[in-house]
């Protein structure tokens, strides 16, 4: 038996020696490759080259996500810039500007206060919170009496659905409706959307402020509420959240004047 075992051992060494050598060689190659990769990743120039080589793949993966965000940001910033230029150019050449400056000087009003007072008026008349899927009203906050908010919410959803199906690109959503001096701004979230009925000129700043408020409201309260049953209890919760968010800011005067929200103009 020992003799047989020796032969077997000898045979195994003969057969597997080359394999072992091969494995050792491959392991070395793998380790070298890993070292090389680590160096590339730690070397900014080489890392840049790797990205450059895989540009197309990276764009495919990140492009749709980033693109949307960038597009939205640029369009919002462009809108603000345009607004600011328009306002300044109008103001600079207006008789009202010279008259107001003279008046302010005599009354001792600071430029900051004057700017706030001169802000273009826009009034927030009503806010609806509407479930995306059903078009049912989840909550509503208003300073004025509006006929049948349930039906208005349904019709808004139907119009939104119609526009998005008939004219919308994939994943695009209706953001506003205009009628005479009224504007309905729509802020879309996953399960619901906010519809703000505004009167007057709505500038980019106001839109952005409202968006911040809705983001905050969704983050703190509405984002986590269950929408399985839309009942009066749920509506009450939502309406209390709307009051908590908007009463201090927009109910300062009967016309809910957003132009006079706070000293920062927000």
């Amino acid at each position: 038996m020992p003799a047989e075992k020796d032969h077997f051992e000898e045979l195994r060494n003969l057969i597997l020696e080359s394999d072992r050598e091969n494995y050792a060689h491959q392991n070395e190659q793998i380790l070298d490759k890993l070292d090389e990769l680590e160096k590339e990743l730690n070397d900014p120039e080489k890392f840049a080259a790797v990205i450059q080589q895989s540009k197309a793949e990276i764009i495919d993966v990140l492009g749709p996500v980033m693109g949307k965000m960038i597009k939205k940001f640029i369009s919002s910033e462009m809108s603000r810039l345009k607004q600011s230029i328009e306002n300044k150019s109008k103001a600079l050449f207006s008789f009202k500007f010279f008259k107001q400056r003279l008046k302010n000087k005599m009354a001792g009003v600071s430029k900051g206060d004057a700017a706030i007072n001169e802000a273009v008026d826009s009034s927030l008349l009503q806010i609806f919170v509407i479930e995306q899927e059903t078009g049912l009203l989840i909550g509503e906050y208003s300073h004025i009496n509006v006929l049948e908010p349930d039906m208005v919410a349904g019709m808004l959803s139907a119009i939104k659905s119609f526009v998005e199906s008939a004219f919308g690109e994939e994943n695009s959503e209706l953001e506003s409706l205009e009628y005479s001096s009224y504007k309905i701004l729509l802020y879309n979230f996953n399960r619901f959307y906010f519809a703000c009925v505004m009167e007057g000129y709505v500038d980019a700043e106001t839109r952005a402020n409202l968006q911040d408020d809705f983001l905050d409201l969704t983050d703190k309260t509405l984002g986590s509420i269950p929408l399985k049953d839309i009942d009066d209890k749920l509506k009450k919760t939502v309406e209390e959240a709307l009051i908590a968010t908007f009463s201090d800011k927009y109910l300062g005067n009967p016309e809910l004047n957003i132009g006079e929200l706070d000293e920062n103009g927000k």
């Binding site: 059903t134 839309i230 009942d231």
Partner: protein, 162 residues
Amino acid sequence: MKTVSKKIVLLGNEGVGKTSLVKRYVHSIFNDEYLTTIGIKISKKVVEVGDVKVNLMLWDIAGNMMSKTLYNNYLRGAHGVFLVCDAMRPETYESIMNERENILSKDFQGTETAVIMNKSDLITEDPTTYLSAFEFDFLTSAKKGDNVESAFIQMATNILSK
């Protein structure tokens, strides 16, 4: 009394009487022009089921929208669907049965559906014999008001019991 809101969609070919069913018994603030412009009109019907007040938000879809992509979006999230046909036009019954088979049974499985055979006032033959070929949940007459109220109440009851 607790109040809940539910979305109900009315489907059916042109002229079967959907809008008449809605017009006579429910409250609306919008005129019928919306039906021709965007193919839909929203109305509201409030019914009481036990100790629950149910706001039925009725989405009346224009008959000529049947089988168009757009109307699938209007159906989204519906708690109940009324499939309405005209008792005097068997082809309208076939049409809603196709809708039920092709769309509702596939994409809206959890949705409560009920077939309304409308215009019962126009049936001149013996109703039992005439209607034996059809399967329906309610035989209504929007003109006379027969069974309309009970159809809405039954729909609300079925939805709440789900």
